[in-house]
Symmetry: C2
Subunit: 211 residues, 2 copies
DNA sequence: GCACACTCTAAGCGCCCGCTCAGGCTCCGG
DNA sequence: CCGGAGCCTGAGCGGGCGCTTAGAGTGTGC
């Protein structure tokens, strides 16, 4: 796992966000769908709108995807895998638990801010997925949660953190990070880097890290 | 403002949630709409579904509401006013800034957990509102934010809190509380009271309150 | 006892949805 | 030069959508 494409790191942007989607027309449709779903929501988006944004006729969509829902499924799957890779890289890195937690939170938040259109679809359109896909995605989300959970437990065991309820802290931290996708605006007060740094700091306070 | 109905306090539940909506048939429709919007989202909910849940024919809806959107508007307005009242009561209460912030967060979170169906519609279906209503609701949200912002500033001025970025902290706290509506499940690990207490504690850590 | 307002239903209008299908390009191996 | 695969379009299907309309049942004031 853990794709080899994010070596540039730095600000959470990816060099080639949907490079794994081919052919090019299928990628164009998928990118159009991400924009439309993020703007209006899955149910309020029409297949005609998606095809239009990609510069194609409505029928072209069905050459590359069986249904509108399959588009959402592919977006959700790729997005969750990306989110998991980001957290795993940080959690498996070097340094104290506090350093790794700070890195995990700041890079996870940077991604949610910089790719907030994608993240909005990935995090808030789960309910629109079919049963099978949803079950699969829920599995991925549990793995995502487990990374943060593990980091907190390591910190507690090492005596770096002071947390009365590890599961509650995990939940709150994930919730805080994910919700960035809802409120982040590109023309707002903060850059993705700034939000990442701010949030890493707040999270260290939440787990009572010695400073 | 600040309705006189929540004197029972305790667990964040209201005795008569939609008492201000009359006649009774209009209230039944509104409650049905809240359930449906929360379950499936505004755009995926049909007027036939709402009417059916309320035990009426599809046409009955249009006797009490001009459009489907007006239903959402009334839900959103009443919900935001309730949220504002909860925060204002806590912020205007007695005690240190830390005590009032803890009370504000725990009661705000209790409401988001106990009334999570309502809160989900109120917090996550803003984009479906028409332009005029949305502008009005955005105004209410600014007032909600201002309550928390004020509490944090008071705590900083009194030397109770240590916050590098007051606006950032306000945003993060609001985000944390609001997102409860997304993940809270009645059959989950926590009761509304427990989440309220947990979150009040975490928020006090975030603002560096002396303990 | 009757006119009227209020509340509701059965039926259905016009529209746009997700999706299909027959056919036409273009490119490539032989 | 031909045949077939891959990609795309125009036209349109069945159906469900938000909402309207005509009219029936019920309660109230006078």
């Amino acid at each position: 796992m853990s794709t080899a494409e994010e070596t540039t790191a730095g600000s959470g942007g990816e060099r080639q966000p949907w490079a794994e989607v081919t052919p090019e027309a299928a990628r164009r449709l998928l990118v159009a769908a991400v924009d439309a779903f993020a703007e209006r929501g899955y149910h309020a988006t029409t297949t005609r709108d998606i095809a239009g944004r990609a510069g194609m006729s409505p029928a072209a969509l069905y050459i590359h995807y069986k249904t509108k829902e399959e588009l959402l499924a592919r977006i959700s799957r790729i997005g969750h895998e990306k989110a998991l890779a980001i957290l795993r890289d940080a959690a498996d890195g070097e340094g104290t638990a506090a350093e790794r937690l700070a890195e995990a939170v700041s890079s996870f938040v940077r991604w949610h801010a910089a790719q907030h259109t994608t993240a909005r679809v990935v995090q808030y359109e789960l309910e629109a997925l079919g049963e099978d896909t949803r079950a699969e995605i829920v599995g991925l989300r549990k793995q995502v949660d487990a990374q943060v959970r593990r980091l907190i437990q390591e910190g507690v065991e090492a005596g770096e953190f002071e947390v009365p309820d590890a599961q509650g802290a995990t939940l709150a931290i994930m919730s805080l990070c994910i919700d960035v996708a809802r409120w982040f605006r590109v023309d707002g007060r903060w850059t993705p880097d700034e939000v990442g740094a701010l949030y890493a700091d707040l999270v260290l306070s939440m787990v009572g890290a010695k400073r």
